[in-house]
């Protein structure tokens, strides 16, 4: 973050030149309810994204990471609202911001990329014209200048022959190229924050690696802060400076990425690590996390992971569990966080092989009953 080369683009907004510890996005004790207040999907989520930082949100489907992004973008679906807590963007409280206020922020302050770029692009228009349109509307650039700037942006995101790509329609471009186009659109007005929700999940592994590098480059060159959501801990490891682990609508662990990988303190994080370590090619055991997460809004006393946790004790279900700090900048929500025996307990558990009788037991999958909300469901509303 310090000692990076000066940004290439001319930054007109003075706020961009703030120091590295300036908070771009702040979320404080956010509670989000769904079904018009019928159930609480997010509880007490707090996080900060500082200037030039890449923060990763990791968790299973339905853990609340996408909901948090949507709250930060002001695009919560109907019936879903922030019931408590505050969201600030560059110091401005945006928790109850009306749509008009968000219009001002979208694009020029916050940009976003999502999983499937082709569903965000008009299939009948050239990608260049779609980017140029954003520039004309938000930056009031005249046509010719918008065209030039669009080609520059395409080059900046790594598209070869940017001039030719300008005139192509989405169907003529590969998934990786389309995602670069989306990134170009997202950063076109020099936002301070880029929110990427499963942006690399649908890409081939070689392209994924390139996009990860691209995001890092953009951070280095432009001081861009990034909120990166993924269910893949390995991707987060490659890209992010800090990681926040979500489970069933709560933050269960947060801290610098190396710290979390080396010394995870929450049993869920430890389980995620075991499962994700297939990248270690020499190992041949494949781990699973037995059981299923609770339904959205399910009322549980105490730790929401206790029913699946190999290290659970009575204290876990006694009452609300607060975040504790096992290290500087490292938080974990576990009563046994300081217990040295914890790491051994969770490692000792090996998940059983596929079991006919287990419609719920060892099945790492939820039954898909209607009470649960997928991230996919949320995205489609």
């Amino acid at each position: 973050m310090a000692g990076q080369p000066p940004p290439e683009t001319v930054l007109t907004d003075a706020a961009h030149q703030a120091g590295p510890h300036d908070t771009v996005l702040g979320i404080e004790d956010l509670h989000v309810t769904v079904h018009d207040g019928g159930a609480t999907a997010l509880r007490g989520v707090s996080l900060r994204v500082h200037s030039g930082e890449i923060v990763g949100l990791v968790g299973e489907s339905g853990s609340g990471k996408t909901l948090t992004c949507r709250a930060a973008l002001g695009v919560l679906p109907k019936g879903v609202a922030a019931a408590r807590g505050a969201i600030t963007f560059a110091g401005e409280d945006v928790t109850r911001l009306p749509a008009r206020g968000w219009q001002r922020l979208h694009g020029s302050q916050i940009g976003a990329v999502f999983q499937d770029p082709s569903s965000y692009l008009n299939p009948n228009l050239t990608v260049g014209s779609q980017l140029a349109e954003v520039l004309r509307v938000k930056r009031r650039l005249p046509r010719a200048q918008a065209h030039r700037r669009a080609v520059e942006l395409f080059t900046a995101v790594g598209l070869n022959e940017a001039g030719r790509v300008f005139h192509q329609i989405p169907a003529e471009l590969s998934g990786g190229m389309l995602q670069r186009v989306m990134i170009a659109i997202a950063i076109s007005c020099d936002p301070r924050l880029l929110i990427a929700d499963e942006a690399t999940t649908a890409l081939d592994v070689t392209i994924q690696a390139e996009i990860i590098e691209l995001i890092k480059e953009l951070r280095d060159q432009r001081g861009l802060s990034v909120l990166f959501v993924s269910h893949d801990l390995a991707v987060i490891r490659e890209l992010c400076d800090r990681v926040i682990v979500f489970y069933a609508g709560e933050v269960v662990e947060a801290g610098p990425v190396e710290e979390i990988i080396e010394r995870p303190r929450h049993p869920y994080t430890q389980a995620l690590l075991r499962v994700a370590s297939v990248g270690d090619f020499q190992r041949r055991e494949l781990e699973v996390i037995p059981g299923q997460p609770p339904h959205v809004g399910e009322l549980i006393t105490g730790c929401r992971f206790a029913q699946r946790c190999p290290a659970a004790v009575d204290a876990c279900t006694a009452g609300d569990i607060a975040l504790t700090r096992p290290g500087p900048a490292h938080e974990a929500r576990c009563v046994r966080v300081d217990d040295p025996a914890l790491a051994q307990v969770s490692a000792a558990v090996a998940a059983p092989v596929p079991d006919a009788a287990a419609a719920g037991g060892s099945d790492p999958d939820r039954t898909g009953d209607s009470a649960a909300w997928d991230d996919e469901e949320l995205a489609s509303r």
Partner: protein, 376 residues
Amino acid sequence: MITEVTELTETIAPAPPLLAVEGIDVALGRGWRANHVLSGVNLKVWPGEIIGLVGETGSGKTTLARTVVGLTRPRRGRVLFDGTEISRLRGAALRRERRAGHIQLVFQDPLRSLDPDLTIGDIVGEGLAIRGGLSAGEITSRVEEALAQVGLAPALRHRQPGQVSGGQRQRVAIARALATDPQLLLCDEPVSALDASNRNYILRLLAGLRDTLGLPIVIISHDLSSLAGVADRVVVLYRGRIVEDVPVQQVFSRPRHPYTALLMASAPSVKHDRELSVHQLRRTTADPAPPAGGPASGGAACVFAARCPFAVDACAVQPPLEAVTDPGPAGPSSAGTGSAGTGPAGGGGERWTAACHRQHEWPELALRRPVTAGSR
């Protein structure tokens, strides 16, 4: 004398493969503008092994699976199952072969491959219903067996695909394939859409089928790391050609083709213990221009040359897929290297083949390249 020779031949003769894909060419479109999706693909599968077929989007891996089961017709080449040619079957003969259920394909997206209006029981039992000869009760019990094999409760057969989760849908698709007692399973990206835990669960399931039933499985994936725990052999496809076909221990310790190495280096990992970084395997503007005449322009150069940092003039000719001659570091169970090693169940043939003119030189060159990104 002659008797001795015959005896000798009998002992060396390798077991024939269960599936043999020979010289398959598939092109979509006509004439000079045809898109050559597959060129000269050869593949052999023996019982009891899991093969990981790896390639990017556009490599032709799904087309290869579709060609094997007859959904796509090859321009050239043939597919043999248990010695019988199945690629020329049409009409009633094809339907008869399919009803026998020898080869089953599990499609990539269960949302599309499962009829949303049918119950899971109907879907899983469809192959048996088509085959005929079983009473409704018998079909039900077979369906429940198949569901049990994939770890789903028998009660699930009354539900519809839309009422279960994504991971469970994927298992239903596998159960449908298993219900007919197949001898070979092809799975097209079975785990790409799942999170890590579900992914591992399904891979373990497939490994279990190989171990208990000796069922050979071809798992198609775009990502090597998802096969690491289960594959016995890895076949790497690039732009319609096989560039490497290698036992799994060897591929991870020392791949022979730079594209294989690139795939491995690109895979994200929670631990940073890679031998080579992606930057050492990617072509940069500093590298000399690759030989012209790649397949996109209809030429005969190596498919990977345009992207390969180690391409030289010799790469203007597509390298043949040939046996790797010098032995790499010996894996725990590798019997032979190169020529006459034995396959997993006594099958023979080349165990390790790669298509690269410089397969012995490029690893050294890669290690000398800068580890982090220089100028683009």
